[in-house]
C-alpha cells in the first residue's frame, strides 16, 4: 500500500461531504455499473519504493551488456557525459515543467531551447531548427511529410545508406500518408543514384552523411538528383561527425535530420533520444513541432516564446504540418548543455578522437585474417567489416571477454538489404572518444581469436 497521495481519511470525508457525496465510489456512480471494474486490477498490490528497488536491481543485473566496453554504434554512441551535464540537466525545474505554454514562467526552458535551436542550426548549416522531435527516425518521417507538403508530390528517393530502422519507420508511416518510398541501393557503400527509377515527380531525395555503414559519399550527386527531379534534398547526418566534415547546409540540403543522442544522453536502451531537425528559411511555415523565438515583454526586455503556432495541431487540427505535441524537450536541453560543456574546442576534440580511434582500429582489425573492409569508401567514426564468421556469433563470443564488439548488420537490416550483400557477416564497429589504446588492443586480440 504505497502511493504519493496527501489525503488523510478525515480530509477525504470532509471533502466528500462538501461535494455532497458519501463515498469515493459515489464519484464514479454515474458510470454504468457494468463498466466498472469489480475486484480491482489484475496486477500485484503496491509495494514500497525500497521493495521495488530490489526488483529494479534484479533487472539491471540481468543486463550483461551494461558492463561491456562499447564498440557498438549504429546511431547510439557511448560518449562521455560529465557530472556537470548530468547535474544541470537533471535540475527539477527542467524535469518537472510542462511544455512552455505560459512564457512568463517558462523562460528557463524557452531560452535553453532557443540555444539548442541555435546550436542545431550551426551543426546542420541550416538557418532554422525546431525544438526537437522524438528521434532521428521520426525526424526523417517528418522530413518526408514536409517534402510532400512543399512539393505536393509523394515519391521519395531514399538512399539505402539511411539507417535500416529509419527506413523501416518511414515505410510504416508511409502506409498512412501514402508516400511511395523507393530505396536506392548502395554500391561499395555509396548510393547508386543512377539506379533510381526515372521520373521528375520526386518529393524528396534522402541521403545519409555518413551513411549507416560509416561511408562518406560526396553529396553533390544527391543534390543533382534533387535538382533534376524537383525534390528537396534531405540529409540525415551524424551531428558529431559534423564537427569535421561539411555540413548539410554546405552540401545544399533543404532539410537536415539527425539523431542527437550523442550529446549528453546515455545509451538508454534506445530512448529517449533526440530528433534533430533543421530547414532552409523557405520551409519554415512547414516546420514540424515547436519553435522558440525571441521577442520582448511588456517592458521591452528580451523574452522567449514558442512561436509560429499557427502551424501546430492544437490550432490547425487536421491541417497541421505535423501531429507532434510532446517532443523531447529535456533531451534537447541536455544537448544544449552538453554542447555548452564541449564548446567549439571540445566538440572538435571529440569528433577527432572518434575518427582517429576508429581509423586505428580499422587498420588493425582489417589486417587480421578473416576480417576485411566491407566497403572501400572513406569513413569518419564508424566502419563496417566483413567477417569469416557470422557477426552475431562474434558479438556473442566477444561479450564473454567484456567487449560489445559492434552491431551485426544482418540483425540491423533484418535480412537481405539493398545496402550490402550478405549482411549477416558484416559487423558495424564504432569508436568514441572514451575508448583507450588498451581497449583497442584488447579488441584486436580478442577479435583475432574469435573470428577464426
Amino acid at each position: 500500500m504505497a502511493d504519493y497521495l496527501p489525503h488523510t481519511p478525515d480530509e477525504v470525508g470532509e471533502m466528500l461531504s462538501f461535494i455532497g457525496m458519501g463515498s469515493l465510489d459515489d464519484l464514479f456512480a454515474h458510470i454504468p455499473e457494468a463498466l466498472r471494474l469489480a475486484g480491482g486490477l489484475d496486477i500485484p498490490a503496491g509495494r514500497a519504493e525500497p521493495d521495488v528497488a530490489v526488483e529494479v536491481a534484479r533487472w539491471g543485473d540481468a543486463n550483461r551488456a551494461a558492463g561491456l566496453t562499447c564498440f557498438a554504434g549504429g546511431g547510439a554512441y557511448d560518449h562521455e557525459i560529465p557530472s556537470v551535464v548530468r547535474a544541470l540537466a537533471s535540475r527539477s525545474e527542467f524535469v518537472t515543467a510542462y511544455t512552455p505554454y505560459q512564457p512568463e514562467v517558462a523562460q528557463g526552458v524557452l531560452q535553453a531551447l532557443f540555444e539548442y535551436q541555435s546550436l542545431v542550426s550551426r551543426l546542420s548549416g541550416l538557418p532554422i531548427a525546431n525544438a526537437s522531435l522524438y528521434d532521428g527516425a521520426t525526424a526523417l518521417v517528418e522530413a518526408l511529410n514536409l517534402a510532400h507538403g512543399a512539393t505536393g508530390r509523394s515519391r521519395m528517393l531514399v538512399s539505402a545508406g539511411v539507417h535500416p530502422h529509419w527506413r523501416r519507420v518511414a515505410a510504416t508511416f508511409a502506409s498512412g500518408t501514402g508516400h511511395e518510398i523507393e530505396i536506392v541501393p548502395l554500391r561499395d557503400g555509396v548510393t547508386d543514384w543512377s539506379s533510381a527509377h526515372a521520373g521528375d515527380d520526386v518529393a524528396a531525395v534522402v541521403a545519409a552523411y555518413p551513411n549507416y555503414l560509416g561511408a562518406l559519399e560526396p553529396l553533390d550527386a544527391a543534390r543533382t538528383v534533387a535538382n533534376e527531379r524537383g525534390g528537396l534534398l534531405v540529409v540525415a547526418g551524424d551531428p558529431v561527425s559534423a564537427a569535421l566534415v561539411r555540413s548539410a547546409g554546405e552540401w545544399g540540403a533543404d532539410v537536415y535530420v539527425g539523431e542527437g543522442q550523442a550529446f549528453g544522453t546515455p545509451l538508454s536502451f534506445g530512448g529517449p533520444y533526440l530528433g534533430l531537425f533543421a530547414v532552409r528559411e523557405d520551409q519554415v511555415r512547414r516546420l514540424p513541432g515547436r519553435i522558440v523565438g525571441e521577442t520582448v515583454d511588456a517592458e521591452g526586455r528580451r523574452a522567449f516564446v514558442t512561436t509560429l503556432r499557427a502551424r501546430e495541431q492544437d490550432i490547425r487540427r487536421e491541417k497541421a504540418t505535423s501531429n507532434v505535441c510532446t517532443n523531447q524537450t529535456l533531451i534537447a536541453v541536455t544537448a544544449a548543455i552538453q554542447l555548452g560543456w564541449l564548446g567549439t574546442r571540445g566538440l572538435a576534440e571529440v569528433a577527432r578522437a572518434c575518427a582517429v580511434g576508429a581509423h586505428a582500429l580499422f587498420d588493425e582489425v582489417t589486417s587480421l585474417p578473416g576480417v576485411a573492409p566491407a566497403h572501400g569508401s572513406p569513413f569518419v567514426r564508424e566502419f563496417a567489416i566483413r567477417l569469416a564468421r557470422p557477426a552475431s556469433e562474434v558479438v556473442e563470443a566477444m561479450a564473454g571477454e567484456g567487449i560489445l564488439a559492434g552491431l551485426s548488420v544482418g540483425a540491423l537490416t533484418g535480412g537481405a538489404d539493398p545496402s550490402i550483400e550478405d549482411p549477416d557477416h558484416v559487423l558495424l564497429v564504432s569508436v568514441t572518444e572514451r575508448r583507450t589504446r588498451a581497449e583497442l588492443d584488447h579488441y584486436v586480440s580478442t577479435l583475432g581469436k574469435v573470428v577464426r
Binding site: 471494474l37 528497488a53 518537472t96 510542462y98 523562460q107 538508454s268 519554415v284 491541417k319
Partner: protein, 503 residues
C-alpha cells in the same frame, strides 16, 4: 578597462528580479572550453590522412566557448526562471501535472539500465526485456486489452500508430474506409493524426451536456467509417456515459473505437477502456504514470489493442520465451514506429510507478484525482462556474465568461494573474467548444489545502477584476518577464542566435 571584451555579463543575476540572462553565445569567449576528455593513448593522426579533403569542413564549426563555472551559473540561473511541479501547483487541464516521484528518477538513472546499448543482442539485455514485457503486461491489465506496443514516443505518436493499426486491420479484411469520426471537443493531435493516418476527419458536435451527441454520431456513421477517436472522460472532464451505445453503434458499421488515453488518470484502476468497448488505446505515461514532462517531453505513448489487432502491432516486440526473453515480430506487423524500442527510460520510470502503486494504489490515484477536481469545481462554483453543471471526473472545465461580461477581464487575464499568485495557470481556451474556458486539473497529489489556496487566489483575482481590471490585464508582474509579445515573435522570426534581432 576591459568593458569591450566579449563574454557579456557572465556573472550573477539578482536572486529575484527581472534581469535578462545572457545566452550561451553571449557568454562565450573564444578559447574557453569546459570539456575534459579521457586520455586515450591513441596516437594522433592528421585528419587529412584519414578523411578525403572534399569532405572536410573549410572552417571549424564554432559553437560556444564557456568555462564550466559560467555554464553552471548560466543554466542554474535559467532554472530560477522556470516554474515546475516541484515549485508549485500546476493545474493545467488535460496535462495531468502530478508529482513525479524522485524514486522513478533513480530507477531511470541506474547505469545498469541507462548504459545499455539498444542494439545489444537479447542475450545481453535480459533485464530490459523482462522489464518491457512486465510493463506490457501491466498496461494490458490496466486497459483491459490483449497486447501493447511500447514504441510510440508520445501520445500523438501513439495516436498515429493506432490509426495505422486501424488501417492495417481494415486492409487485412479488404475493407477500404475513408473517414474517422472525432468529437468537436477533441485535442488537436487527434485530427492531425487522422490526417497523417490517411483518413478524413468527420467532426461531430457535443451535446449540451458536453458529451457525444449520439444522434449526430449515428448520422455520421457509415460503411466508410474506419473508426472513432474518443477520450473518456472526454476533454471537458466528463464521462461519456453512453459509451456502450457508442461502441455498439460504431462496431455495427464495422468501425473501430480508439481511446485517447490522455485522461486515463480519471479512471485508472476503476474502469478499463477495454471494458467500455474500445479496440485501441493509447496511454500518456507522462500523464497517468507520472513520468515527468521535462518541459515538453520526453514522454511515452504506448498503444494497447484488443485481440483482433495484436498481430498488427509494431515490431519487434519484447517476448517472454520458454527460457528468458527475446524479440518477436507480430505476424502482420505495421512495422517500426520508433528508431529503437521506444523511450525506454521513460518506460522504466512508469513501471516503477506502477509497481509502487499496484492495483490498490492506482485505483486510489483515480479516486483522489476525481475527488480533488470535484471539490475544486464546487469550491469555485460562484466565481468560475463549470461549463457543464454536473459531477466531473479528474478535471473541471470552468468558464470566465461571467467575469468577462461583467468586467472585460478575460480567461487569459485570469490565467496570467494566477502566475502572480504563485500557481501555474490552468489550460486556457481549450476545449474550443467552451467560451472563455479555464480547464483545471488539480491531480491527486495536491492537498486540499493547496486547492483552497488556489480557490482563494482565484476569488481575489475575481474581485480585482471588478475593482482594477487594468492591473489584471498587466499581469503577471512577479514573474521573470512580464507579458510577452507573441505577435512580434511570429512577425519577425528570430529562432537562433544568428538571426537578426526583432525590434
Amino acid at each position: 578597462m576591459m568593458a569591450a571584451m566579449p563574454g557579456a555579463r557572465a556573472a550573477s543575476a539578482p536572486l529575484m528580479g527581472r534581469e535578462v540572462e545572457p545566452t550561451m553565445f553571449e557568454l562565450s569567449v573564444t578559447g574557453r572550453s569546459a570539456a575534459q576528455l579521457r586520455t586515450t593513448g591513441i596516437a594522433p593522426r592528421d585528419l587529412g590522412e584519414i578523411i578525403p579533403s572534399e569532405h572536410l569542413r573549410d572552417a571549424p564549426l564554432e559553437t560556444v566557448a564557456l568555462s564550466e563555472r559560467d555554464l553552471v551559473g548560466h543554466v542554474t540561473r535559467l532554472t530560477h526562471r522556470q516554474f515546475s511541479v516541484d515549485l508549485g501547483m500546476y493545474p493545467l487541464g488535460s496535462c495531468t501535472m502530478k508529482y513525479n516521484p524522485k524514486f522513478c528518477d533513480t530507477v531511470a538513472g541506474d547505469p545498469r539500465l541507462a548504459s545499455v546499448h539498444p542494439g545489444a543482442p537479447a542475450a545481453l539485455t535480459q533485464g530490459w526485456l523482462e522489464l518491457l514485457v512486465t510493463l506490457e503486461e501491466r498496461l494490458c491489465a490496466i486497459t483491459g486489452m490483449a497486447g501493447v506496443t511500447l514504441q510510440p514516443a508520445a501520445g500523438a505518436a501513439g495516436e498515429l500508430t493506432g490509426l495505422l493499426l486501424m488501417r492495417a486491420y481494415h486492409a487485412s479484411r479488404g475493407d477500404v474506409r475513408r473517414r474517422v469520426i472525432i468529437p468537436d471537443s477533441a485535442h488537436g493531435t487527434n485530427p492531425a493524426s487522422v490526417t497523417l493516418g490517411g483518413y478524413e476527419v468527420t467532426t461531430i458536435p457535443s451535446n449540451d451536456r458536453g458529451l457525444v451527441d449520439l444522434g449526430a454520431l449515428r448520422a455520421a456513421l457509415g460503411p466508410d467509417v474506419a473508426g472513432i477517436m474518443l477520450t473518456n472522460p472526454n476533454t471537458v472532464g466528463l464521462f461519456e456515459e453512453e459509451i456502450a451505445e457508442i461502441a455498439e453503434a460504431v462496431h455495427e458499421v464495422g468501425g473501430l473505437l480508439y481511446y485517447d488515453g490522455a485522461n486515463l488518470n480519471a479512471i485508472v484502476g476503476v474502469v478499463r477502456p477495454g471494458d467500455m468497448g474500445f479496440d485501441i488505446v493509447h496511454m500518456n505515461l507522462h500523464k497517468t504514470f507520472a513520468t515527468p514532462h521535462g518541459g515538453g517531453g520526453p514522454g511515452a505513448g504506448p498503444v494497447a489493442v484488443a485481440p483482433h489487432l495484436v498481430d498488427f502491432l509494431p515490431g519487434p516486440r519484447p517476448t517472454r520465451l520458454a527460457e528468458g526473453y527475446g524479440w518477436g515480430e507480430p505476424a502482420h506487423s505495421i512495422g517500426r514506429v520508433h528508431g529503437w524500442h521506444g523511450n525506454a527510460l521513460v518506460l522504466a520510470r512508469a513501471l516503477a510507478y506502477i509497481e509502487v502503486h499496484g492495483s490498490d494504489g492506482l485505483a486510489r490515484v483515480a479516486q483522489h484525482a476525481v475527488l480533488n477536481a470535484n471539490w475544486l469545481r464546487r469550491r469555485l462554483a460562484e466565481t468560475l462556474p463549470a461549463a457543464y453543471d454536473r459531477p466531473c471526473m479528474h478535471e473541471a472545465v470552468l468558464t470566465a465568461s461571467p467575469i468577462k461580461s461583467a468586467t472585460g477581464v478575460k480567461a487569459l487575464d485570469v490565467a496570467k494573474a494566477l502566475l502572480d499568485e504563485g500557481f501555474h495557470a490552468p489550460t486556457v481556451y481549450f476545449p474550443l467548444i467552451v467560451d472563455e474556458a479555464l480547464m483545471f486539473e488539480p491531480t491527486e497529489t495536491e492537498s486540499v489545502q493547496t486547492l483552497e489556496a488556489l480557490a482563494q487566489a482565484i476569488e481575489s483575482i475575481a474581485q480585482r477584476a471588478g475593482s482594477d481590471p487594468e492591473a489584471l490585464r498587466a499581469a503577471p508582474r512577479h514573474t521573470p518577464v512580464g507579458r510577452v509579445d507573441e505577435a512580434l515573435a511570429a512577425r519577425v522570426l528570430k529562432s537562433t542566435e544568428d538571426a537578426a534581432r526583432p525590434r
